[in-house]
Symmetry: none
Subunit: 225 residues, 2 copies
């Protein structure tokens, strides 16, 4: 995933150009469609579209209709562009899973801010990266890098490391770990944590000793200075 592609659908080419310029300036890739059909075609051709910006008012197939069709096949985030004063059907939008509305005319700042916020929210942007002692943890991608090199972790291992790093410097009892990384209603042996810690430590290599044992209590993730 290199740059994020956004599909802009509007029948007015001036409006498309405006939106495109703002988005491109902010580092996104932009595809354009001037009506619903074209939009659907483009969406099917390009499997890696990260967001749609749909004008509500379009000839033939309007924004709602495009939205409906897209939702048949995808949960991609959708922003609706509404004309000022145009009645906004919040309920319909809610049902269709519209993520945001932006009223025309809008400021570039608003547009870019919303797009960024949604992508961050839906974890398409790497906003939620955590770092500690050279260990980079990308929640969205469920990916861990040590000094730039990717490390393969299983689901539980990842969750555990995530919990550790989120609570770095804090002594965590086994019970607490169990309640957060496992489900609240987990009844298994707390010793399973030890096994996961073992695997984590070995996969983290040298940095494995950031996971400190607190005797009679639990573990603590700490990067010594």
């Amino acid at each position: 995933m290199d740059i994020l592609k956004i599909l802009v659908v509007d029948d007015e080419s001036r409006m498309r150009k405006l939106v495109r310029d703002f988005l491109v300036k902010d580092g996104y890739g932009v595809l354009e469609a001037e009506d619903g059909e074209q939009a659907m075609d483009l969406f099917y051709e390009n499997k890696d579209i990260s967001m749609l910006i749909l004008d509500v008012m379009m000839p033939r197939m309007d924004g709602w209709q495009v939205c409906r069709e897209i939702r048949q096949v995808s949960q991609v985030p959708i922003i609706m562009l509404t004309a000022k004063g145009e009645e906004r059907d919040e309920l319909l939008g809610f049902e269709l899973g519209v993520d945001e509305y932006i009223s025309k005319p809008f400021s570039p700042k608003i547009l870019v801010a919303r797009v960024g916020a949604i992508l961050r929210r839906t974890n398409l942007i790497n906003g939620e990266q955590k770092e500690a002692g050279g260990i980079l943890l990308n929640e969205a991608a469920h990916e861990v890098k040590i000094d730039g090199k990717p490390v393969e972790l299983s689901y539980k291992e990842f969750e555990l490391l995530d919990y550790f790093i989120t609570n770095r410097g804090v002594a965590l009892s086994r019970e607490k770990i169990l309640n957060h990384v496992w489900d609240y209603d987990y009844f298994g042996d707390a010793r399973t944590i030890d096994t996961h810690v073992k695997k984590l430590r070995s996969k983290l290599g040298k940095k494995g000793n950031y996971i400190k044992t607190i005797w009679g209590m639990g573990y603590k993730f700490e990067v010594e200075e």
Copy 2:
């Protein structure tokens, strides 16, 4: 400061309960208000509220207004709850110093993660440290530092020191110490305390003599001026 208090403001009691449950499960204290006025009252009454979670859409005084008023008097972190699809005024929020947005419906994980992240960012978490005569005791991290340098203590040693420092200046009988640091149903020799005191004193180095012997009675932790 023991547990962090969070004020949740929403007109729907179901939503308040939901948020409260998640937060309480994660160890926070929660106060609730069902409208802006109540929120302001509670905020003034309780001087130690660490965070506000505000629903945007409320009758009479909406979230933005509450936010504005709070900001007149405090820089406490604020999270805004927005309904999905609801137009989100990022610019206004930015001006008002909103820290985060969470869209309903949200997952407990998201809620708790954001709250934790903000509190960590604002250094409200991890603040509980006890200090006495250059000995810094961090309960959360289960860590002791003397003049800035970490000292390795075993579990019991840590507990004992914690008890001493918490009751600094107070003469503690062996029985009392046994009852607090050991379990109430401990039947061993009270002389075992002596052994632990010995080790503590030696690990504390010079500051070991802050632990005074009270002949025929027990011990007392005291920092002479």
